[in-house]
């Protein structure tokens, strides 16, 4: 239950910079998920908070105290590692209780607290076992227990679910959320899995190439991606991104010369600029290829997602995904017409990748705002 401030934190290995100046204020009790592709520096950032990596520049403060020079054990953080890092030669009970043993907690007190934690995680039957005799999910819970027992101010998770199978991952996700609600400790959770990020986070930090791309609630990040990278990274299917230019009439022309009308004033504002048009699959709909203003494409394949269906269309060689709401009958190779909802268009600067038009603010010219 401690706020964390990360101020212009940098990390480089020798001359290679891996984290370039991250700023972040995390509130007490907040559940933060750092999302990004592998190698984006998200784990490094987490490890700097933990004290496992030296901080090359900037400052990290936990609960108001700058911790740059503090050892991991002085920071009051607990961490769940990707491969669990359970001590193979100790029993489950000893694994969970190790931190207390190091801290010199009496044996009776220790076993009482181990019992509590084991009960909360339904690990009671396994307390006498060694980690190698446990299943993946059980090991994961032991790792959680080891972090919980210290009642830390801050919980750090380094891709803790990535070694589990899909079903277990979803179950553990719920469990982590439930534990967080009960314990209320500030949590930072690193993952490359956007579903995990969406379901767990109070706020998501999207990172790419050592930089923070966007900080926001899951809804924010999904609905209003602030950069082209976030637009392409978050959401299944990913946002359709077409690179082109805005002509003098304020219409979007992409490279094959086809034209998409933009919302009136926005179009005018960006006339002559190179932009990227972003459209979520659900912001487009299928119409007859002959319909007026429809963009004509070829249906490539249909992805059945259970609750919904997505048509992947071939748009002059570019893939374009459209969500199907009704039970349209389609087969690969069919010609389809696509209509894009002008109020749900995103525009990104082709040069910087920054959002210059987002739907909620349609009509507002961000670049000039």
């Amino acid at each position: 239950m401690a706020p964390i401030s990360i101020r212009d934190v940098k990390k480089s290995y020798g001359k290679t910079p891996v984290v370039h100046g991250v700023d972040l204020e995390i509130e007490s009790g907040e559940f933060i998920v750092i999302l990004g592709p592998s190698g984006c520096g998200k784990s490094t950032l987490l490890r700097m908070v933990a004290g496992l990596e030296e901080i090359s520049g900037g400052e990290i403060a936990i609960d108001g105290r700058v911790v740059n020079q503090m050892e991991p054990r002085q920071r009051g953080c607990a961490m769940v590692f990707q491969n669990y890092a359970l001590y193979p030669h100790m029993t489950v009970a000893d694994n969970i209780g190790y931190a207390l043993k190091v801290a010199g907690v009496s044996k009776a007190e220790r076993s009482r607290r181990i019992g509590e934690v084991a009960k909360a995680l339904s690990l009671e039957p396994f307390l006498a076992r060694r980690p190698m005799a446990l299943s993946g999910g059980q090991r994961q819970r032991v790792a959680m227990g080891r972090a919980m027992i210290r009642e830390p101010k801050v919980f750090l998770f380094d891709e803790p679910l990535s070694n589990l199978d899909a079903k277990l991952r979803i179950a553990m996700r719920a469990e982590i959320r439930r534990l967080h609600r009960r314990l209320g400790a500030t949590s930072i959770f690193v993952t490359h899995d956007q579903n995990e990020a969406m379901t767990l986070a109070d706020r998501i930090i999207v990172m790419n190439a050592g930089k923070v791309e966007q900080v926001g609630t899951p809804e924010d990040v999904y609905n209003f991606p602030r950069t082209r990278f976030v637009a392409g990274f978050v959401g299944t299917p990913a946002m359709n991104l077409l690179e082109g230019r805005v002509n003098e009439d304020g219409a979007f022309v992409y490279d094959q010369g086809r034209i998409v009308d933009l919302p009136q004033d926005a179009g005018q504002a960006f006339a002559g600029q190179r932009v990227v048009l972003g459209v979520r699959a659900e912001a487009a709909r299928l119409v007859s290829p002959e319909a007026q203003g429809a963009l004509v494409a070829t249906a490539d394949f249909i992805e059945e997602l259970g609750a919904s269906r997505v048509v992947h269309a071939d748009f002059d060689g570019l893939p374009f995904a459209v969500a199907l709401t009704d039970s349209v009958r389609l087969k690969p190779g069919d010609r389809v017409g696509i209509v894009i909802d002008p109020h749900r268009m995103h525009l990104y600067s082709a040069e910087t990748g920054a959002a210059i038009l987002t739907p909620a603010l349609a009509g507002t010219n961000l670049a000039h705002a």
Binding site: G51, R73, A85
Partner: protein, 294 residues
Amino acid sequence: MEKRVTFSSTITGLLFVVPMLLLIFVFFYWPSAQALYWAFTLEQPWGGGNRWVGFDNFSQLLSDPVYWGAIGRSMMFGLSSTAIAMGLALILALLTDRELRGHKIYRSVFIWPYAIAAPALGLAFRFILAPEAGLLSIINQVWPGLWNPALDGKDAMIAVIVAFSWKYIGYNFIFFLSALQGIPRSLTEAAAMDGSGPMRRILDIQLPLVTPTLFFLLVINITESFQDSFGIVDIMTQGGPARATELMVYKIYFDGFKGLDYSGAAAQSIILMLLVIILTIFQFRFIERRVHYK
């Protein structure tokens, strides 16, 4: 472990393994069988082949205090040099594993001793530990006659133990360091997050996790102390003074090749072979099963 895909042409398969089989037949199995034969027979003084004597050679050996002396010394030599070499190697490996400044230098230099031939380091240590020249001669200047491996059996034993341990620090260091580096980094980090400092981690995490290597090395060191000691002993002391450093292999060599008592040497060989086999089985059966976590 078995392969899913295999070849079935028996002849090709046999051809690949025949050279090895021939070699081990001629140089391993036949001689070992012959040793067994000799151990139970006695060569006739004026030719006429060997006479079956049953366990006579063995009972003669085992009732010979000189032989027991060699066994005792071998044990003494093996255990103390193993303790020194493993203890020092473990400490050095643990500290090198901390990757303090210069750890690449330590990692390299601590291996060097193992590259040196036992007799070569025997000669080097013979000089270094010589009573009248070299390094330890200073002791004799201060306390005349205190140190003399050429005359004092105890000093001679210390000298060969020091030389042998020095070489095997390098060997043990290689294995300990590789075992330590095999411990996942995240375990150390987890322990650090759990609040334990470097010393505590050594005791709670690293030492328990290298116990398999520890036991493995224990057996290897003792076996090696039987065989690799020969060159050191032969160059440094030749078993002397007054048999004070006559170890088992040296005695076999001496009785068999200098004394030409093949039957006695064969019986000694059999006993030594049994000893080594027992140690090896002990390692495979008992130790391997007890201390493996993976």
